[in-house]
Structures are given as C-alpha cells and as structure tokens.
C-alpha cells in the first residue's frame, strides 16, 4: 500500500477537492435536500408568526413553558434567531443531518452507483472523507438557513435594536449579530457528532432508508435518554447533552465551560465514528 500511496501523492489534493466539489454539488442539487432546507427555513417563520399573533392578545409571559428566549423575541427580533436555533436543534436540524449523512454511502449502494463512484481514481478513504465533508457542509448550511430565515422574519415582524444578554447587560446590535453568527457556528459544530454517527451507520447497510431511519431513531433514543434523571451518570457522554450550551455565548461574561465540553464531545464522536466508518468502508465488499 505504501508504494501505491507514494505514487498517488501528487494528484491527491486536486482529486480530493474535485470529488468534494462534485459531491457537494450533487447533494445540494437534490430536491430532497432543497425540501429539507425549505422545511428548516419554515420553522422560524412559523415561530415568529405564532409569537406575533400571541402578542396581540397578551405577551408570552412565563419563561418556564415556552422554548428558550421566547419571552425576549417581542423586544428584539434578533432573539428569534436564538429561539429558532433552540427549537430546531433538538430534532429538525439533526434529523436533516441524519437524512443526508445516513444516505451518504448507503444511498449510493442502494441506487447501485457506489461501485461506479469507486471506479473513479479516488480511493475509498477519500470518498468517505468527501461524503463526511459534504455532511459537515450541510450542517453549516442548514444552521445558517435557520438563522437567516429567523433573522429576516424577526426583522420583519419585531423591532431590532440593542440586545439584552441573559445577565441583563445590553450590547449593541452589531455585537449581537456577531454573537448570533458565533452561535450559528457553534450549533453547526454541535451537529458534527450526529453527522459522523450517520455516516458510520451508512457504511453498515446497503439500504438508504434503513440507514436514515436508524440514525434518526438513535437520535430520538439519545434525546429521550438525556431526559431521564436516573441516567445522569451516562448523560455527559451523549452527543446531545451539551447542545443547548450555545446559550452560554449570550452570558456576560461568556461561560466557556460547557461550550468547550460540547466541542470536545463532538470531536470525540467525529473521530470515533469517523474512524469506525473508515474501518468498515475500506474493508468491506462492495457488492452494489
């Protein structure tokens, strides 16, 4: 292998990029992907309109019942970004990732196109990496779609202006936007664990539907496990445990503890399941 490797080294970078570009193009041109993004964009609009209608009668008062930050939305449309991310992060976003990542290998196998992909002089590891990079790109795009849609809806329906942080401190709108961008970045990073998990499952089966369903099923299971107090010993290791830590960016001063744990956990999931996917994909028989 080492001999082949050295021969291959020169064109590798170019090829990898080309493969990645073609993968991203294929994924984002699919109707399925566009529909997923449309659904993601619809959530903030739905939330925003619902809050707008509700405020007509009497503002949403108790912060206990509704999703996070919802009481702030009527004061500042920017908070719709945070509310929407808090609403979509538990299910909508990871579900969309699960569909994309779960379909990555298994979908190709299902359609009988996997072996043709492998005919291209790119090697399996690189194909796998391109697939994972595509999923990562989708994490970012999905999050940004939610955030942008929320920002536009929030700006259209509610006043903008100084942003009140969780600690009661006010910051300028520009800085608020920066924090919103940082939060979108953190949310996108939070999804890397699911993406790696989905990719691994995708290498296990030849049925795209099975891989997607398993990924989403696992996601729901993990979310349920995370709410059972008796299981608090294992909860810090569930990939969804620190998801809401993005709210810590809105504290003054920022509370980094949980954010670091979240990123570390996502990196761990990415490495473990990414390498598991690699081990599986590079050693298995491709029959379809």
């Amino acid at each position: 292998m080492s001999q082949a490797e050295t021969v291959r080294r020169a064109p590798r970078r170019l090829w990898s990029l080309g493969l990645l570009r073609s993968e991203i193009g294929t994924t984002f041109r699919r109707w399925r992907t566009l529909a997923l993004l449309a659904v993601l964009a619809g959530v903030p609009i739905l939330v925003g309109v619902a809050i707008k209608i509700e405020t007509g009668s009497r503002g949403p008062d108790g912060g206990d019942g509704g999703p996070a930050f919802i009481s702030q939305v009527t004061n500042n449309g920017l908070f719709l970004v945070f509310t929407s991310l808090a609403v979509t992060l538990p299910f909508f976003l990871p579900m969309a990732i699960g569909v994309i990542a779960g379909d990555a290998i298994a979908g190709e196998a299902n359609a009988g196109t996997l072996r043709y992909l492998l005919v291209a002089p790119a090697g399996r590891a690189r194909l796998l990496f391109a697939k994972y990079a595509t999923s990562m790109a989708f994490c970012l795009v999905g999050t940004l779609v939610v955030a942008l849609s929320a920002l536009v809806t929030g700006a259209a329906l509610f006043p903008l202006g100084k942003v009140t942080l969780l600690s009661g401190t006010s910051i300028s709108f520009g800085e608020g936007l920066l924090r919103a961008l940082a939060i979108a970045g953190v949310v996108a990073l939070s999804l890397l664990g699911v993406a790696a998990l989905g990719l691994f499952i995708s290498t296990l089966t030849n049925s795209g539907i099975a891989a997607m369903a398993t990924t989403v099923g696992l996601l729901i299971t993990v979310q349920i496990l995370d709410t059972i107090p008796q299981l608090h010993a294992i909860q810090p290791y569930l990939f969804s445990h620190y998801w809401l830590s993005f709210a810590d960016l809105l504290r003054d001063p920022v509370y980094w503890d949980q954010l670091q744990k979240n990123i570390g956990l996502q990196a761990l999931y990415a490495v473990v399941f990414g390498s598991a996917a690699w081990a599986r994909f590079t050693t298995r028989d491709i029959t379809a």
């Binding site: 912060g63 399996r124 009140t164 390498s275």
Partner: protein, 424 residues
C-alpha cells in the same frame, strides 16, 4: 493504471490472513480512541483529586484564625453547588425544607412576576447541581448569577441597590438595601440586605464556613485533615465533627486556601453515609479585582420591572408577621416565615419547635390542602405527645404533630421524638 485501483479491494480478493488482519487493525482505531478517552475521563479526575499538595503543618486553631483573618475583598469565580438532601420532589411552592407550612405562600409565588424573586430561586438550589458565578469587590458590590440551561438568574448588589434579573421571564426586581441591614451584625462581609438574597449569599463558601465555625463549641471536634487541591489552588481542609450523638451530621469539611485563607469548598456529609448532602465549592477562582461594570445594572429595554420594596411591604401587611429570622442552622433553611418559634437543645442537636404556622385561619387552609400529602409522605408516629407524622430526609427530620406543632432539626428521629415527648 494501478493507481486507479483502490488497493484495499484488490487485496481483499486475495483473501488470506493479511486482509483479516488489516480489518482488525482498522477496527482497532475507533476502539482505541474510545478506550483512551474513557481512560482519560476515568483516571484524570482521580489523579487530580488525590493530589494532596505538600503544605507546612498547621493547627486547627491557626487555620480558623487564618480564615477569620482573611481579608480578601475582591474575587470572581465559578461555584458549583450540589445538594442531595434526599427531599421528596414536591410540586411548586411545596419544595424545599421550609415548604411544609408554605401552602398559602406557594400560591403567591406562582403568581406573575414572582418568578424573579430570590426565594423561589432558593428552593431550586435545594436539590440537584447548580452552577453559580460570583464576583465581589468589597462589601458594597457583589454579584451572583445562577447559570440555568438557557437562562441566567442574576443578583447584583451595588451600594444601596439590589437588582435581581431573571432572563427566563425577562423580569427585574429592584430592592433598596436598608442602611441598618447593610452595616448589621455580619459587618463588612455581609452581602446584601438580610431578608432578600439570604441563602444566595450564604451559598458562597466563605459564609458557609463562617456559619459552621459559629456552631462550634465544646460539642464539636475541629481538626485539620489532608491537604487538597480546589479550583487549582492548594488548600488545607478543616474537618468539623459533631460530638453529640443525636445529630444527623457526619462531618463538615472546609477547604481553605493555603495562601490567603479564603474558604474554597464546603462539604457536609450526613452520618448515614453516601454522597455529600451539601457540597459547595469553587471550580475556578480569581482574586483579581473584577471589572467595574460587572456590578452595574440598568433594567434592559422591555423588561418587566418589579419594585421589590413595595411588594414586600404589601406582603407584610397581608401576612401580619415581620419575618424575624431564626438563628443558626435554621437560618439556612428558610424557616423564617413561621411565627411562634423556639429552639430546644443546643448546637448540633438543636430542634426548632414551631407552634402552629401563623394565624389560625391560614393554618387550617394549609392543613386542608396538605392533608393528603402528609399521609403519603410521612410515617405516622405516636408518643406521649400524641400522634403525628414524621418526615425524614438525609439530613433534616421533621415531626408534625396532629395539633399542628412542628419539630424540625438536623437530628435523628429518636432525638426528635424525645424532644417532642419532653416538650409536651
């Protein structure tokens, strides 16, 4: 073109042992990563915890003096509060040790705007793990934030203003600190007006250590235990053990910064064993002066602002009691709303006896509401005092007799019954 052929595929068709070995090696990668991580998570805290730094020996008395002498006015840090009192989880206003007579009060807390009141936040601290971020600059400026999942509860004391801000409901409560309270018995270390952020201020290790030391006397054994590392700082550990047999308190450990005498960690272990009932400690601490704007607060645009002074005056008119504080251990448990309180016994085995919970009418109402709850939670006991219900937690036991008298203390059940029999 051999380089176009994925080498893996060709070798796989060769069959043989090398393909199998390659497979095993590759699968070993994720397993190894997971294993190394698990080992790191499992072992590093164990090593960090066992690291007892080498410090010169110190006597218990010197250590207490060191704490008393400690004059650290400026600090900021993160405090982790873990409480495991073994309380049954009660709905709403019934939560916390002081909740048993709190039926009518609970209804009021549920009302609008009260979600920012420090009292209701206090009950939350009575169970589970919470993270607090504290900052202090002298006796006039303190700030405590309770870090919630997607919300913050911030308490800022600056001069004569005390602000409480709850981001969850976007409500700010403003109180004016009274002069007499500010320069009251606790002197310069007192943090805020007595009856408002009480308990929140007590959650700092300093205040808890002081309370523990106050309770020490000939009934208490105070020794110096192993050294420890808390929040990255070398610390001595003061071990306080009650000598009285009736107490439910096993031991109290106070970790004291070896350099400046600031208590960094407070751990209370019940006699029955198990995890600590109360564990309050800094996870990070910095003794530099916090930025001045840390302590400034203006209610944000759109926030609901509640005047706490007015609200309290109204509440006092309605309740007809002035909420005189109970001393010592009771102080911590928020039992101060009761009238007719007296304390039996002393130090560790003191038992609070409360005759009826305030005016007659209110008492009846509370009993009606809570009647069923009493039966389901407490065990029925009888003695020469009559009969009643006994409620036990890991630390505090309470006896409510059928005629409405309540005995509460950090003592075992037998001591409680004895006290009730004797006091009949």
């Amino acid at each position: 073109m051999p380089r176009n052929e994925p080498t893996e595929v060709t070798e796989e068709w060769d069959g043989g042992r090398s393909a199998k070995r390659r497979k095993a090696v590759r699968y070993a990668v994720p397993v190894a990563v997971a294993g190394v991580t698990a080992a790191t998570i499992g072992l590093v805290p164990a090593f960090a915890g066992s690291g007892s730094p080498d410090l010169p020996k110190i006597s218990a008395q010197d250590l207490i003096a060191k704490i008393a002498k400690s004059d650290v006015q400026q600090l900021s840090g993160t405090v982790q509060v873990t409480t495991d009192l073994g309380l049954p989880s009660l709905p709403g206003g019934m939560g916390g040790a002081g909740g048993f007579g709190g039926g009518p009060g609970g209804g009021e807390h549920g009302g609008s705007g009260a979600s920012a009141s420090p009292q209701s936040k206090l009950t939350e601290l009575a169970s589970g793990t919470h993270t607090l971020r504290v900052a202090a600059d002298g006796p006039e400026k303190q700030r405590v934030s309770i870090v919630d999942k997607t919300a913050d509860y911030t308490l800022i004391h600056n001069g004569k203003d005390v602000w409480a801000y709850d981001s969850g409901s976007n409500t700010a409560v403003h109180n004016t600190a009274r002069e007499d309270a500010r320069h009251g018995e606790h002197g310069k270390h007192h943090e805020g007006p007595k009856d408002l952020p009480n308990g929140l201020q007590n959650a700092t290790p300093q205040e808890l250590a002081k309370q523990a030391l106050k309770a020490a006397g000939d009934t208490t054994a105070v020794t110096v235990g192993d050294t420890a590392k808390v929040a990255g700082r070398d610390a001595y550990q003061l071990v306080i053990k009650p000598k009285q047999s009736g107490s439910t308190v096993g031991s109290i450990r106070v970790a004291v910064d070896a350099a400046n005498g600031v208590p960094l960690k407070f751990t209370l272990t019940p006699k029955s064993g198990g995890p600590a009932a109360i564990d309050v400690g800094y996870t990070s601490v910095d003794f530099a002066k916090p930025a001045a704007n840390t302590f400034s607060f203006t209610p944000p645009k759109g926030a609901k602002v509640v005047d706490g002074d007015q609200q309290r005056a109204k509440a006092q008119r309605e309740h007809g009691n002035d909420g005189k504080g109970a001393k010592g251990a009771m102080d911590r448990k928020g039992l101060k709303d009761f009238g007719g309180l007296n304390v039996i016994g002393k130090d560790w085995t003191s038992i609070a006896k409360i005759k009826g919970a305030g005016p007659g009418g209110k008492d009846q109402a509370a009993k009606g509401q809570a009647g069923k709850l009493l039966d389901s939670l407490g065990s029925k006991v009888t003695g020469s005092f009559g009969s009643g219900h006994l409620f036990s937690t890991r630390l505090v036991n309470a006896l409510i007799t059928d005629n409405g008298t309540i005995y509460v203390g950090a003592v075992d059940k037998q001591a409680l019954l004895d006290a009730a029999n004797a006091a009949k």
